[in-house]
């Protein structure tokens, strides 16, 4: 057999192994999803609710109308953006739980900035607002990032605390400097900002729905993050740091720097999620702007295999779940908290099944090596 032939053979074998492996992993993911829903069904039965009705209401709530489908994409957009940040951080073995807070900072900045420069034309105001929101979220991610890099402070705990601080900061500003003047004159004092100038509104894609062009931006960014992580030196180093920090250190990679960088970037992407919620959906800042996207984004990222492209279908799935849960709560009075519970279970099962798949892959490799001998 010629060398070239052997090479092709080996390559094709490697490819085929990858496919089997991928299929196995996807199978495990779907199994995790199924398990979570089954446990959810048992809980619903115990509570005296009909799980079939609850789940089918969720399904028709999303796919029964154009509005439902567009709405699932509207909700998938911030999940995708948050998830991209989570991908970058988790790939560097940095666990960012702070997306909620980073999202708030992005939303706050987008609100303040677009109101401050309301006279600017849209072609200038929209990109400037997006960049500023990214920077605000990044700054919020930088703080725990630098604390981890310099002092080895546990980033999980600091990012959780930063969430609480961001929430209070938003409450403070929404009742103070950012409060809607109309609310004061009307005497309602609603904790929400003034309506943003129309110039900053993201164009709507489907009339009569909330679907906005932020969805396209998010998908393009997913491709960009994929290229960044797999086709650039910085991305390669981020992944190397996550895979093996000790080996990376020996190879001369500044591990703390890349950890801080990944957390800062993660903050920036979560900040973008806040921006699109404000300028794409709500057109103002209001309480509850995060809708828990900071946590759901983590679930989506894990479900997407921490891969930017896998994240696109994963975030759409979880966006659909959120829309379905709203519908279920209104139509059959099953609280949407069910979906929070399911998300937690999905995280547990997905992360729990990883060991099964690595052990399985190891066994297969050992078997292949044995067969060769």
């Amino acid at each position: 057999m010629s060398v070239a032939n052997a090479d092709t053979l080996q390559r094709s074998r490697r490819l085929s192994i990858d496919w089997v492996n991928a299929a196995f992993r996807i199978g495990l993911l779907l199994l995790s999803l199924l398990f979570a829903f089954m446990i959810g069904a048992v809980v619903l039965l115990l509570l005296g609710a009909n799980p079939i009705i609850a789940y089918s209401t969720m399904f028709t709530g999303v796919f029964g109308s154009v509005y439902g489908i567009t709405q699932s994409i509207v909700k998938a957009t911030p999940l995708l953006l948050v998830g991209l940040g989570i991908c970058i951080a988790f790939r560097a073995s940095v666990i960012n739980i702070g997306a909620e807070g980073q999202l708030i900072l992005g939303a706050l900045m987008a609100t303040w900035f677009s109101l401050q420069f309301r006279t600017w034309p849209g072609w200038l105001l929209i990109p400037a607002t997006i960049i500023m929101g990214f920077l605000a979220g990044a700054a919020w991610g930088f703080i725990p990032g630098i604390l981890k890099a310099r002092l080895e402070v546990n980033e999980i705990l600091t990012t959780v605390m930063m969430n609480a601080i961001a929430l209070q900061l938003m409450n403070l500003l929404l009742r103070g400097p950012l409060i809607d003047p109309a609310g004061i004159t009307a005497g309602t004092y609603l904790a929400q900002s003034e309506r943003l100038p129309e110039a900053v509104w993201l164009p709507r894609l489907v009339p009569q729905t909330l679907l906005h062009s932020g969805a396209i931006i998010a998908v393009l960014l997913a491709i960009a993050v994929y290229i960044f992580l797999w086709r650039t030196t910085i991305g390669y180093r981020i992944r190397a740091v996550g895979l093996n920090p000790d080996a990376s250190r020996y190879a001369g990679i500044k591990v703390p720097f890349y950890q801080a960088l990944s957390l800062t970037l993660a903050g920036g992407f979560a900040g973008l999620a806040g921006v699109v919620e404000v300028i794409g959906v709500q057109h103002r800042l209001l309480e509850g702007i995060t809708s828990g996207y900071g946590f759901s984004g983590i679930v989506a990222a894990l479900f997407g295999g921490l891969h930017p492209l896998g994240l696109i279908p994963a975030s759409w799935l979880f966006g659909s779940l959120l829309v379905g849960a709203d519908k279920m709560q209104r139509a059959v009075q099953v609280p949407s908290a069910l979906v929070d519970m399911l998300s937690g279970l999905i995280v547990l099962f997905v992360i729990g099944s990883q060991w099964i798949s690595t052990r399985w892959a190891r066994r297969r490799m050992a078997a292949a090596a044995g067969a060769k001998r």
Partner: protein, 310 residues
């Protein structure tokens, strides 16, 4: 401004600080057991929520606070078993499985609350018990020795935990499993069983921490009742250097800041409530940064054990 320094207010702050330290103590001491055996359980917050709900629900159903407490313990242990299965048996990345457990607990407690109780109701919680003689000390007696049994229990837990970890075989085994699981394993200590035990013990205490809120401190249940206290409790374990006394110091520091924050709001001193509420969280970050010393950390913390690999 001067009124904050009056004796009544200072005693009030002290009494509140003692009370508010209770959930931190149960949860953080419990977490220190899990971490000493090498498992970071970040799901404490979720366990507390489920415990708080279970305690409240059982207590108002049976009219018996002790049964409620038992319910919280059982709920905590069940959550601990789930965490152990994922993190110890399936060797999952502990940071992420903890967040999964938190989300599960938050969702489950909200779901159960909305479908069974529905609206926020109060309950008559554990009454204050005055300790004879000590409770009669002027001023201080009222603050320190006229609290509910759950508050006393939390403070008694500190020497108990010290004794358990430092003076018993179980404690030594736990430390060995957390420092060098392979060596412990070779000496016939079951790493798996030890970690299961410690995670479940910690989870049971987290359940009690939740019940101390719903049955003694605020006497009600609502969605997200714990509001981040479970995460602060995990931070306290780092802050306290994995020692019960260090955790006690940290818990008191936090509860004092919290008490001052509450009194500042009550007295209406010109600080916006939102800033006052921020304080404990800012303090947590500062405390973590200042005490970021890993010397005392169990060597195998956050590392799943697999025979023949470590």
């Amino acid at each position: 401004m001067s009124e904050i320094f009056s004796v009544t207010v200072l005693v009030g702050i002290l009494a509140s600080a003692i009370r508010l330290a209770t959930p931190y103590l149960y949860a953080a001491i419990g977490e220190s057991f899990a971490q000493t055996s090498g498992v970071v359980n970040l799901g404490v917050e979720g366990i507390m929520l489920v415990g708080a709900f279970a305690g409240f629900y059982v207590a108002q159903l049976t009219g018996n606070l002790w049964l409620g407490l038992l319910g919280a313990v059982i709920a905590g242990i069940l959550m601990g078993l789930l965490m152990s299965f994922i993190s110890v048996t399936l060797r999952a990345e502990q940071g992420i499985s903890g967040i999964g457990l938190y989300m599960f607990g938050l969702g489950l407690s909200s779901l159960l609350f909305k479908t069974t109780i529905g609206t926020v109701k109060t309950i008559v919680g554990f009454p204050p018990v005055k300790i004879p003689v000590l409770g009669d000390i002027p001023i201080l007696g009222e603050a320190l020795f006229n609290q509910s049994v759950l508050v006393y229990g939390a403070f008694l837990l500190v020497p108990l935990a010290w004794w358990l970890l430092d003076k018993t075989t179980l404690g030594l085994k736990t430390k060995a499993v957390g420092q060098n699981p392979a060596a412990a394993d070779s000496l016939g200590v079951s790493v798996l069983r030890n970690r299961y035990f410690n995670v479940c013990l910690g989870a049971a205490l987290a359940g009690v921490a939740g019940a101390s809120l719903s049955l003694s401190l605020v006497n009600l249940f609502q969605e997200n009742l714990t509001a981040g206290q479970g995460f602060i409790a995990v931070a306290l374990v780092y802050f306290g250097g994995w020692r019960p006394l260090g955790i006690l110091a940290g818990a008191l520091l936090f509860s004092t800041v919290n008490a001052i924050q509450l009194w500042v709001q009550v007295l209406g001193i010109g600080i916006p409530a939102d800033i006052a509420v921020m304080l404990p969280y800012l303090l947590t970050i500062a405390a973590l940064a200042v005490t970021a010393n890993r010397a005392r950390q169990p060597a195998a913390l956050n590392k799943p054990f697999e025979r023949g690999e470590n």
